[in-house]
Amino acid sequence: MPGLEDLYREIILDHYRTPRNRGELPPPARMAEGHNPLCGDEIHVYLDVQGDTIVDVKISGQGCSISQSSASMMSAAVKGKDINDVLALVKRFKQMMSIEEENADTTGEIDTSIKLGDLEALQGVVKFPVRIKCATLAWNTLVQALESPER
């Protein structure tokens, strides 16, 4: 469909059709729920964190192609990673989504050397400002989950 190629890249549709790391993790895995009150999208992020490492991650919930594929790509990108690297990646991703962090001074520099890989496919979303919240929902929920205690 002309004009929408930027938004609906093949790789996004692939993650939407075949979402990675779909499911839940039992307690004591950490969990957070994210909502987009405008469109009703919901995402649940489950994390098994051992030491500084995200050993496992699962995603459930419902939403549009952008929110679901972003969640799927996110899960693939963070699984097995060190928490500090993940937080740096979150920052880098949000920068790509042109989200300005509040208190940008105090949160330090964004490491632009971080490779986004597949995630770069989401760059086209920036041209559709209404959808930016769809793309970032999983990422905000991830941060919440990291900040949550074990259950």
């Binding site: 469909m1 002309p2 549709l13 405008l38 469109c39 009703g40 549009c64 192609s65 559709f128």
Partner: protein, 410 residues
């Protein structure tokens, strides 16, 4: 008996807009409607020539403005066949009207042990004010459930009404299009000793309204959904109830006297119109009422039944089982609001794809989250038709949905 919607369409300046060479297909009138030239011109003319305060000051501008404002009230009274003009209260929107009823009538009449009946298809505007009040006063909220085809399931109505002091329900669902049996519900309520409040936001713009035939006690609706401007809504209430109610907002215009020790309320309708009211907006609403009256509300309804039937048939013919239209299947018992679900495509993606062809539909929960949960979805894509929508609009909608299946079809 119906009109030519392609002619009506020309009355609406926005609809003449062409973006990227394509016409605008506005299918979000259940959300908010577009405005005809006559309404826009009435507002413009009033602001350029007669704007003034409406407190019956001695000077000419003030009396012209007062006459325009009160003239709009008289038009609204006639449009819904309310018995008396001072029973028409102008609010900022239907939401304020419903809050007014809850806060004023409700706070004075409801306590623990009481009950209010709502339905599973209500808009948040007819749920949250009651939840807020219930949290404070401790009364019970009871719910009328739905049948599988999206009608109200009234089989337990009398039990639900037993001991209830009020029922508040929509005359037409903003999600499913369902037209509810207002007269039947009102009379059951009255038999049970409850008052009946009708959320008429979706019905007043689309079909003839007769509050006396309904025998309702309160009716609320908004100007912006009926070709009028934003910033004004209407509450109609029975004089005896309005008279007995405490005031809602306090301030200028709603008082007869103010002393340091306390105040005395003004008469109706001033009592419920605190502060400078939506003056320009009332003038616009009056022009909208004139516009709708000139087309005839019977004709508006007839047109909508026709276009709804056409759109439903086209969608089904084209996509069969791959498309679901929520709510009643017969166009005769529903409004022109089609909440559709496409197999394998999320509503948000549907609306994104439609936007490529300048088709405006709303994807979301439509301020009816309880209903969404009952439907088992988080959102729907809602195409809602109005008097300016043509069969061509329906065709463009049907054709463009192909793109969604092409892109997302599994």
């Amino acid at each position: 008996m119906t009109f030519d919607s392609s002619v009506v369409r020309r009355d609406f300046p926005v609809l003449q807009r062409v973006i990227n060479g394509k016409p605008l297909v506005y299918l979000d009138s259940a959300n908010t409607s577009q405005k005809p030239d006559s309404v826009i011109t009435a507002i413009d003319h009033f602001l350029r020539n007669s704007y003034g305060p409406i407190n019956r000051s001695a000077y000419l501008l003030a009396s012209e403005a007062t006459d325009a404002y009160e003239g709009a009230r008289a038009k609204v009274r006639k449009f819904i066949n309310a018995p008396q003009v001072h029973e028409i209260v102008f609010t900022k929107n239907a939401t304020e009207a419903l809050n007014l009823i809850a806060r004023s009538w409700g706070a004075a009449n409801l306590g623990s042990g009481d009950a209010v009946v709502l339905t599973h298809m209500e808009h948040h505007a007819n749920i949250v004010p009651w939840q807020m009040l219930a949290a404070e006063k401790g009364f019970e909220i009871r719910w009328i459930p739905l049948t599988p085809d999206g009608q109200l399931d009234l089989s337990d109505l009398n039990t639900l009404l037993d001991g209830a002091k009020a029922i508040s329900f929509t005359a037409m669902s903003n999600v499913l299009g369902t037209i509810t049996p207002v007269e039947q519900i009102v009379s059951a309520a009255h038999r049970a000793g409850a008052i009946a409040i009708v959320d008429a936001c979706q019905s007043v713009p689309h079909m003839p309204t007769d509050v006396q035939a309904w025998d309702a006690d309160f009716v609320a609706f908004s100007s912006h959904k009926m070709c009028g401007p934003s910033g004004i809504g209407v509450l109609w209430g029975r004089e005896s109830l309005l008279d007995a109610m405490p005031p809602f907002l306090g301030g200028g215009n709603m008082i007869a006297d103010v002393k340091l020790e306390g105040f005395k309320c003004a008469e109706l309708p001033a009592k419920f119109e605190a502060g400078t009211p939506p003056i320009v907006e009332a003038v616009g609403l009056g022009a909208a009422v004139d516009y709708l009256t000139s087309l005839g509300m019977e004709s508006v309804r007839a047109h909508e039944v026709e276009i709804t039937a056409y759109a439903m048939r086209s969608l089904k013919d084209r996509y069969g089982e791959r498309i679901t239209i929520h709510g009643p299947t017969s166009p005769a018992c529903r409004g022109a609001t089609l909440s559709i679900a496409l197999e394998g495509v999320h509503p948000h993606d549907v609306s994104q794809i439609l936007d490529q062809e300048n088709i405006c539909v709303r994807a979301g929960h439509h301020c009816a989250k309880p209903l969404m949960r009952i439907l088992g979805v988080t959102a729907t894509a809602r195409a809602s038709f109005y008097l300016y929508n043509t069969e061509s609009d329906a065709d463009i909608l049907t054709d463009t949905l192909v793109g969604a299946f092409d892109l997302f079809g599994m």
